[in-house]
Amino acid sequence: MRAITIVLASSLCVFAACAEDPQYVPGPSSIEVGIAGSDVFTGTVTIDLPVELETMEDAIERGLRAAELGVGADQLAYVRVGDFDVSIEWTIKNLAGSEGEARISVNGGNQFWYYVPTEFVIDPEEDEEPPPLMGDIPLRIADNATLTGVFREDQVREASIDLEQITRAMINPFNAVLTVNEEDPGVTIPPVLMSMTDLSQMVRFDIVFEADRHMVLEYGLRVRDHRGILHDELLSAPAGEFVVWAPAMFVPPPPPP
């Protein structure tokens, strides 16, 4: 009997341990730029996280939490910071015969808004474009070499917070992106202070690849799902079984006259 108990307990522990195993969302396509004969040196791909439709229980739980905070249920996101731990893994191959430079920038959105830095440039001669949520670091890559890297989970979490600061909290994007907020108690989304775990999680990722010669970027998302709401079939999920995110592009209010 004791042996049976040990075997069963071990099996349960094993399966409990894998409940939050990472899932890999492959990039829908690679981004190849600088092909000979073309003058395209920048490419962008958008990936939406394939999240299952919100259940009635989830909606009720969200409504109760919103009531606790004193905001409307529509102001509390379905997918919130901490529901997922997301990292973005990438590989760049330099297909040219000489050393070159590449940059990867990541912007994106939550269920309410998505961020486009160029929208903050009103006068191109005076306004500096704000930084992207992640990346935009120059990477030197030798000829025919391969470089791999990752945007870590903490970077994506910070990007989710920055996005909320830029959009719903109306904080200057330079301030939001260049400040680390992980120790903050929360973000003031008028009229309330929302804790970090009440903020919206990024569910849309706009990956921008820029290179000065022929290179290709392969990438994928690694997602640890703490709520069990990521669709099992990921990007192959049938239509109607996952949320179609439709955030609005955030356009900053015009400067005071």
Binding site: A3, I4, I6, V7, S10, S11, V14, F15, C18, D21, P22, Q23, Y24, P26, E89, W90, T91, T148, V150, E218, Y219, G220, R222, H231, D232, E233, L234, L235, S236, A237
Partner: protein
């Protein structure tokens, strides 16, 4: 073919067991009945999958019952951890493969050494879809039926309850694009029953 091999091995075991002098068995009594095994070892994949997974550590538990001295039935659970090595990204990621099987074991013993063959079927679960990129897994696929067969030898200690063993098992997972592998393990067996 494998089934035929198992039957032949079983018959051979019976013949050998019958011809083993009783004195030899009496020199090294072994318990018979309910037993447990705990083992550790390594697992590697076969075929094309060798390029997508590194050899990884494995551990297993087995709970069985000796119906006769030459035949036992059991339930085995095995977990193996592998580094996934498909074309990056991702890179440096690990996954776990869990298997649970019921199996039958045929064997015989000469003095302190026992030889056995075993075979069984069950189910397997993979912890992530990291091998989806190389088409081992279909979207959303995590479970498969599992078939396994193998053999080994066991050394009976003076204490009738304990034995050490060395075993190798081949397994195949049909729904995971017929993923195949071989595990080798050393194990400790504890048998609860009286001697025979």
């Amino acid at each position: 073919m494998r089934r035929a091999s198992l039957v032949l091995a079983g018959l051979a075991g019976l013949v050998v067991t019958a011809s083993v002098p009783r004195a030899a068995l009496a020199d090294r009594p072994a318990s018979r009945g309910v037993y447990t095994e705990a083992g550790v070892g390594a697992t590697g994949h076969l075929g094309a999958a060798r390029s997508w997974s590194a050899i990884g550590p494995t551990m297993g538990l087995r709970l069985g019952y000796d119906l006769f001295s030459w035949l036992s039935f059991g339930v085995a659970t095995v977990v193996a951890s592998h580094e996934a090595t498909p074309p990056p990204p991702p890179e440096g990621e690990w996954y776990q493969l869990y298997q649970a099987r019921t199996d039958a074991r045929l064997g015989f013993r000469i003095d302190s050494v026992a030889l056995f063959v075993e075979g069984g079927a069950g189910a397997a679960y993979i912890s992530s879809n990291v091998l989806g990129k190389v088409m081992v897994l279909d979207p959303g696929e995590r479970f498969t039926v599992a078939f396994a067969g193998g053999g080994g030898l066991e050394y009976q200690l003076q204490n009738r309850h304990y034995a050490f063993g060395l075993a190798a098992t081949y397994w195949m997972l049909p729904q995971f694009d017929a993923l195949q592998g071989v595990e080798g393990r050393v194990y400790l067996r504890y048998t609860y029953g009286g001697s025979h």
